[in-house]
Symmetry: C2
Subunit: 127 residues, 2 copies
């Protein structure tokens, strides 16, 4: 194999055999991640939380067009992925704070590399 392992780094976390047995949807964790973050609200939510923690209605107001249901689902998904931490303050009325976990914060850096590429190459993914 003449040791050419620097040109195309691992991307699917497998040695990429001759035949790639993409088991199911998330056979590759990166594909799974992209599928998750590729929905309508995940990235903007992550970015806002990257600025500072937010309460539910703060996010709801800052992200124009998102419904309560979609915001809830997005936050729950990010939470179950370990990207976002949810803190409930048992006050009346209830108050919930969302913040990035260390994992989530760590993700923003590689994400910004992709963002830079997108800006440079104008990958509009139009339509």
């Amino acid at each position: 194999m003449s040791g050419g392992n620097t040109d195309v780094p691992l991307l699917v976390a497998t040695p990429l055999a001759e035949r790639v047995p993409v088991a199911e949807y998330g056979g590759c964790p990166v594909t799974g991640l992209f599928h998750r973050l590729g929905d309508k609200w995940s990235l903007v939510t992550l970015v806002l939380l990257g600025q500072r923690p937010h309460r539910f209605n703060e996010l709801h107001h800052r992200i124009e067009g998102v419904s309560q249901r979609m915001l809830t689902r997005t936050l729950r998904a990010l939470e179950s992925d370990g990207l976002v931490h949810r803190t409930v303050f048992p006050t009346v009325p209830p108050s919930v704070e969302y913040a990035l976990t260390s994992s989530g914060a760590a993700l923003l850096t590689p994400l910004s590399q992709v963002a830079q590429w997108a800006v440079d190459h104008r990958a509009s993914a139009e339509r």
Copy 2:
């Protein structure tokens, strides 16, 4: 603002106003890109093409489980995004070669940063 612009780099290519008017699906080019690459076959296709150019049936055989229709659609999408270049050799029977464009090749590097994060944090995005 005490010049703290290195902690959370731009990710949505906007200044992130108080209220983010996520126009539509691809209000943010990065979200659009993730949405595109988050489908079932785009990433594995990109990675294989990152190794070397492939012909259609080569890809069809190496990516287990993909149908002709899905492979065609995936390649067409990647092509219209400027990530993949399609070369038709007017032989009989016809032969078509797919290769990464320079943009596509340039994308693999930031992508691998995300992949590294996914591997480190095991973001399985399970279920």
